[in-house]
């Protein structure tokens, strides 16, 4: 409950900071909206119509009042309610992010696991080389290579747009590539350390097989730091989504944000950033809860 209140407070502060920042930056959004040839009178009229002539605190409370009711204003550039635009984009972004996270966890986790068990073996070196590549390659580069190889060259998968689930495969890999690399490295080093712990000797002394030692005793302890990192990576995944959605022409939150920035579309930008913030906060909340499930030491003591 306390964590939930904290989350709401953070969300409020972020929207305030965002609101102030967007109004400090030079350049009149209305002027951009109207183009080069708009006259003074029209600009002034529209500024008043959009409420941008009001003092900043009045604007903020108006905005907040609307936001609580689910009304994030109307996009300047697209002329539709922000909530409606985001609603459509939300599903795509969520699917993309989930698929990317799934890819990163499964591929990264498995590679890390195998590498740790067979340290310094050929698969270990191979995976770790790949993961270095994963960490150091920018998202757009991975995206373009994937498009070229699997789309243009092999014709296996669609290159852009969203038609069915297959459209998400390449973007998800492009987006998750980076996280997969860091997860693989983290799992490898954590698991290797865990396998040196004393209770692992205890488990082996019991006569358990190496597989049981790893699955029953080592893995859960390895997951503790990994879960934290996964949550932290969520924000990275979101910023990556901006690029991935643009490269693959997926109508998602990231692409909306890019449009909003280009068009000085304040309501739309506020909406998208707020959404991203909420997602990051939510990810951290989940990580906290998961940590409590995984590690009994972080649960509050009720006994005795």
């Amino acid at each position: 409950m306390k964590r939930l209140l904290q989350a709401v407070l953070v969300l409020l502060l972020v929207s305030l900071a965002l609101f102030v920042m967007l109004r400090i930056v030079p350049g009149n959004p209305v002027a951009v909206l109207m183009g080069e040839h708009a006259n003074e009178a029209t600009i002034e009229r529209l500024t008043a119509e959009l409420g941008l002539d009001q003092p900043i605190h009045v604007q903020f409370f108006r905005y907040l009042g609307g936001a609580i009711r689910g009304d994030f204003g109307t996009s300047y550039s697209l002329g539709k309610p922000v909530s409606q635009l985001m609603g459509a984009a939300f599903v795509n972004t969520l699917l993309l992010a989930l698929a990317a996270a799934l890819f990163a966890w499964i591929v990264g986790g498995l590679c890390g696991l195998l590498a740790a068990i067979r340290k310094n073996s050929i698969p270990d070196r191979l995976f770790m080389g790949f993961s270095l590549l994963g960490i150091s390659m920018p998202v757009f580069m991975v995206a373009m290579i994937l498009q070229y190889v699997f789309g243009y060259w092999l014709h296996w998968l669609p290159i852009s747009g969203v038609s069915d689930w297959r459209s998400f495969i390449l973007p998800a890999i492009a987006l998750g590539w980076n996280s997969a690399g860091s997860i693989a490295r983290l799992v490898r080093s954590t698991l290797a350390d865990t396998l040196e712990d004393d209770y692992i000797d205890t488990a082996r002394a019991k006569g358990l097989s190496e597989t049981a030692v790893i699955w029953r005793h080592a893995l859960r302890n390895t997951m503790l730091p990994t879960v934290t990192m996964m949550a932290l990576q969520l924000s990275g995944l979101l910023s990556g989504a901006v690029i991935t959605e643009t490269v693959f022409s997926i109508n998602g939150i990231g692409r909306l944000a890019v449009q909003a920035i280009n068009g000085r579309d304040i309501p739309l930008l506020q909406g998208t950033v707020l959404f991203a913030t909420a997602l990051v906060i939510f990810g951290n909340l989940i990580a906290d809860l998961l940590y409590k499930v995984l590690d009994p030491r972080t649960r509050r003591e009720v006994k005795e």
Partner: protein, 321 residues
């Protein structure tokens, strides 16, 4: 009562290091007779834990057992298949470790960690395993065993954790229990309780290899004692003989250090110098650089462990006697 339960013959353990190969265990032989508590005593780093780990097949890489045999009731552990040997552990031989906090899995309930052993070796179902674990908890003196079954290690005191470890080690009624410094991390009153419990186990038919640097613990518990120094056994005798008439200068030094503590003399008696690093062992006898009686011969040749009639000692000085 003269049956040999465990025989270790010429055991060698080697580790490659940057300064060349070292041998933390160098041709160590020892025997544990059925129904006894045998002590293995020595300073930190002398190889006593490594000897125990070799028996349990727990030597950390890149170290490995490079020579010798380990026989349990005449069966050579080294000749067994990997699975056969693994299934011997926890059922016929089990081990408890020095630090009961780090030896239990922090994210698993204490009871689960114990019943895992019978579920593995005896195929017991979950309900039966739980019942037997709780029974075992009670037998090793854990108060309120039902509640303790569901406790996580961090919710238990050091003494209770070590009792959980003992319950885990004893639940299959093994023939041999290896206890590696089982009370070192515990305070004195708890130590006494744990030692008492181990005596009870021996009365119940389990032989114990007790590894300790604490001569007080050894004197109280063991019938037979091996003294280890820098990877080698330097003396082996019955407990009475060892304490009344130690033969090896190292054993003498150890005992003097304890006596001076008990008599509260102003000056604490110590053995001068430190245990030599395994990659820069002195020539000849490994103790020669710290020994007050060392002769030219001691610095040139290494004395072998020799039978002196009911006891064994690796020292040239004993020739005169």
């Amino acid at each position: 009562m003269d049956e040999k339960l465990l025989e270790i013959e010429d055991l060698c353990v080697e580790f490659p290091t940057e300064k060349g190969k070292i041998r933390p265990v160098d041709r160590v032989s020892l025997e544990i007779r059925t129904g006894t508590i045998t002590g293995l005593v020595g300073e930190s780093g002398c190889g006593k834990s490594m000897t125990a780990r070799a028996v349990m097949n727990l030597i950390k890489k890149p170290g490995k057992m490079t020579g010798g045999r380990i026989l349990l009731e005449g069966r050579d552990l080294g000749q067994m298949g990997a699975k056969e040997r693994r299934l011997l552990q926890g059922r016929e031989i089990s081990m408890i470790f020095q630090d009961p906090m780090s030896s239990l899995n922090p994210v698993m309930k204490a009871g689960k960690q114990v019943d895992e052993v019978i579920r593995l070796h005896e195929g017991t179902d979950a309900g039966e395993a739980r019942r037997r674990t709780i029974e075992m908890f009670a037998a090793v003196g854990i108060p309120d065993p039902e509640r303790r079954y569901d406790a996580y290690p961090h919710e238990l005191s050091g003494g209770l954790r070590q009792r959980v470890m003992i319950a885990m080690a004893m639940i299959c009624k093994p023939k041999l229990l290896i206890a590696d410094e089982p009370t070192t991390a515990l305070d004195v009153t708890v130590e006494a309780q744990i030692l008492e419990l181990m005596e009870k186990l021996r009365e119940g038919g389990t032989s114990i290899l007790l590894i300790s640097h604490n001569l007080g613990v050894i004197a109280r518990m063991c019938e037979d004692v091996y003294v280890m120094y820098a990877g080698k056994i330097v003396e082996h005798a019955e407990i009475g003989t060892l304490f009344a008439d130690p033969a090896h200068p190292y054993t003498k030094g150890l005992l003097r250090a304890v006596t001076s503590l008990q008599e509260e003399t102003a000056l604490l008696e110590t053995i001068p110098g430190n245990v030599p690093q395994l990659y820069e062992l002195p020539q000849g006898c490994r103790f020669s650089n710290r020994c007050a009686f060392a002769t030219e011969r001691c610095r040139a040749d290494e004395p072998a462990l020799r039978d002196l009639g009911g006891r064994e000692c690796a020292c040239f000085l004993e020739d005169r006697a």
